[in-house]
């Protein structure tokens, strides 16, 4: 982090001619605690999410190490359960979501010609709520009973029976939710109120559009999750019976409330990823994005549909056939706007002058593997098939294709793409390509075989398995270790680039045409667009 700080410090000295708070600004650690600058906060979000990514990844390594052989070798079943739980929670709420909020902080003001976010002080709050939440999650391993082994979905009635680790997890989710809601309100206000003159909504870069839609999804769905875990908390300690059948409640109700949040959450993760890819693919195709307006409408309709399909996560809980049919058809309907988006990305590349630097490779990896994950999603959407595949490794494979190869690869594409703009340094292209090829190969080694395991009936979240699953699990574990090491390699690439990367040219990607590339120097100075540009 100190290297990043130096970079900003230099930028600050070099470009700061607007007589400002420079000499009042605290230095060192306090600078980061008190900062209200969107670039500082974006940097902190990105480093925090990367730390959480390594933490969640370490838990995935423990899971795969235990599953390398049938039988119990390394951990106890209870600890294994808490590993699957916190791996999911940390990756979703600690790694992927803050990573894209980090992108939003860095990019949205620069892309719409705003000087900063609309509420800089609240922005600081949004970030600094995250470390306490992470500490609560870690602390839950240290209390009697250990971490909650309930799965990241935190289904009742298991959650009403767990030890105090569950309470810490519930509070962590509350805090993470507050952080997300404040961040979203900030993003919506920035986009709606602070655009430069001439920057109409339909001229905004697609990344900004996707974040506007995502922020609305967050404001509408995060409070519902907060409600669900609050009910769990009052069931545990205050004698309510929302989910307790003995008191007239119903555990299935929890699943409905959770997935009313949970399905929009899937798109909260995926839609900013769409946005990053929609910036990267045109830049390396040297063509404008094909079907810009249809991209906006497709993203919006995905967002609206995401609130109407939640029960496809719970076909087997007992639901009228009419309900199953409705949720099946509504789910399949989402394939239409998603198909529009994939078509547009491919059409953007059609007859473009393509080059394949690391950001483009990750964007293409995203496109290929996200589409594969979408197909398995269609398979799972069919009620009759899902009854067979519910809670098997087929589901695990499916959502890792859309979460890892989708959201994570897109985040990698974004980091490599904007790295020169943020730091003024170039990463090592050869190493970046190595990172891509190692990631995509080991990713598929890890997760492709899990489709077969799931079809053969191996259940998820279980530390032991029948002997016939051994070979596929060993392949998957080897892939996972390789994938994990590849991400440590990514950390090396980034640190090397910050320390000793070559100086980045003003416009490292000749197809990039958004405001931060065309109107700002590289690296971007500490304060940008204090006088808004005019967009024609």
């Amino acid at each position: 982090m100190s290297a990043a700080l130096d970079t900003h410090g230099k930028a600050h000295d070099g470009h700061d001619d607007h007589g400002d708070h420079g000499h009042h600004t605290p230095t060192g650690f306090m600078r980061w605690v008190t900062t209200t600058n969107h670039k500082d906060i974006g940097t902190m979000y990105l480093w925090f999410s990367f730390a959480m990514f390594l933490f969640g990844g370490a838990m995935a390594m423990i899971i795969r190490a235990e599953l390398f052989q049938p039988g119990m070798q390394i951990v106890t079943p209870e600890f294994f359960n808490s590993m699957t739980t916190y791996h999911g929670l940390v990756m979703v709420f600690g790694a992927i979501m803050p990573a894209f909020v980090g992108f939003a902080n860095w990019q949205i003001p620069m892309m719409i010609g705003a000087p900063d976010m609309a509420f800089p002080r609240m922005n600081n709050w949004s970030f600094w709520l995250l470390p306490p939440a992470a500490i609560l999650l870690v602390a839950s391993f240290l209390v009697p009973g250990g971490g909650a082994g309930v799965g990241w979905t935190m289904y009742a009635p298991l959650t009403t029976q767990m030890g105090p680790g569950m309470d810490l997890t519930i509070f962590a989710v509350h805090i993470l939710g507050m952080s997300s809601i404040m961040g979203s309100i900030n993003i919506i206000t920035t986009i709606l109120n602070l655009r430069a003159p001439g920057m109409t909504l339909m001229k905004m870069p697609l990344f900004v559009w996707t974040w506007l839609i995502t922020a609305y999804l967050l404001v509408a769905s995060m409070p519902v999750l907060a409600g669900a875990v609050t009910m769990t908390l009052t069931d545990r300690h205050f004698g309510t019976s929302f989910f307790n059948a003995a008191g007239g409640g119903d555990p299935v109700l929890y699943q409905h409330i959770f997935w009313f949040f949970g399905h929009p959450e899937v798109y909260i993760i995926a839609i900013p990823a769409f946005g990053v890819v929609s910036q990267v693919i045109p830049a390396f195709s040297r063509k404008p994005l094909f079907g810009y307006a249809s991209m906006v409408y497709a993203t919006s309709s995905i967002a609206i549909l995401s609130f109407m399909v939640w029960a496809h996560h719970m076909y087997v809980v007992g639901m009228p056939v009419a309900g199953q049919l409705y949720f099946m058809y509504a789910t399949m309907l989402i394939a239409v706007p998603t198909g529009v988006k994939v078509f547009n990305w491919v059409a953007t590349m059609w007859k473009g002058s393509l080059t394949f630097e690391t950001p483009m490779l990750f964007a293409l990896g995203f496109l290929f593997l996200f589409t594969l994950g979408g197909f398995t999603g269609l398979v799972l959407a069919m009620t009759v098939v899902d009854v067979q595949l519910q809670d098997t490794y087929y589901v695990v494979a499916h959502f890792h294709y859309v979460m890892v190869a989708g959201a994570l690869f897109s985040a990698f594409a974004g980091v490599y793409f904007w790295f020169p703009k943020w730091t003024g340094k170039m990463y090592d292209e050869t190493l970046g390509k190595w990172h891509f090829w190692l990631s995509i190969i080991f990713f598929n080694v890890t997760f492709f075989v899990q489709h077969f395991l799931g079809l053969a009936g191996m259940p998820r979240r279980i530390p032991d398995y029948a002997l016939q699953f051994t070979e596929f699990n060993q392949i998957s574990s080897i892939g996972a270790f390789g994938f994990g090491l590849s991400q440590v390699f990514f950390l090396y690439i980034i640190i090397k680039a910050i320390r000793s990367g070559e100086k980045a040219p003003q416009l490292p990607w000749d197809g990039a045409d958004t405001l931060e590339w065309t109107h700002l120097p590289t690296p971007a100075p500490y304060h940008t667009f204090e006088n808004p540009p005019t967009v024609k």
Partner: protein
């Protein structure tokens, strides 16, 4: 009012609106509770509170046929002796019948057990209505205690005609973690 002030005011207004949306959505989670109960009621799911209109029908005893009910008893890793006092009886569907089982704790410590019923053929289960059964709660037996326990049941007259014999089998399991540790 300057342009900067206008933006600050517009920002604050939007902040307030979005906070209201967040609070409303938090309330929406709680509004889903009665909504869910209504949907379940309309769809006829989750009818645990529905009173037993079937019981009224049971007073019509079907004298035209009788079903042979056989009784079976097992224990699973539990040193109790457990047997029915009658091996079987003939019952008219709709008639209230009573049988007794006897159980003895052969251990020198108090043990808590739970009986789990099963039926052969399996599809007879839904027509076999138990009004009173020792399997409704856990049974704790003192060392050496012998207990006779009744089962009162009615066979639903809707029982398919091709089922002539029903086997009712109970298995007693020890309820783990309930025995008192010495000291």
């Amino acid at each position: 009012m300057s342009a900067a002030d206008a933006i600050v005011n517009a920002n604050r207004l939007l902040l307030r609106k979005l906070l209201v949306v967040s609070v409303l959505m938090f309330g929406f989670a709680f509004a889903l509770v009665p909504f869910y109960e209504k949907i379940c009621e309309v769809a006829g799911l989750r009818d645990i509170f529905r009173s037993d209109e079937v019981a009224a029908k049971n007073t019509q005893v079907d004298m035209s046929r009788s079903v042979l009910v056989e009784f079976d008893s097992n224990t699973q890793r539990l040193a109790w002796t457990f047997r029915p006092l009658a091996l079987g009886l003939a019952a008219h569907p709709g008639a209230v019948m009573q049988v007794e089982y006897e159980v003895r704790n052969t251990l020198d410590r108090p043990v808590t057990g739970q009986a789990v019923p099963s039926y052969g053929p399996q599809r007879a289960a839904q027509y076999f209505r138990k009004l009173e059964c020792f399997c409704f709660q856990q049974q704790t037996l003192a060392p050496g205690e012998v207990r006779r326990m009744p089962v009162v049941f009615v066979i639903d007259p809707d029982l398919p005609k091709d089922i002539g014999t029903i086997t009712l089998s109970y298995t007693f399991f020890e309820v783990a973690g309930t025995q008192k540790r010495p000291g």
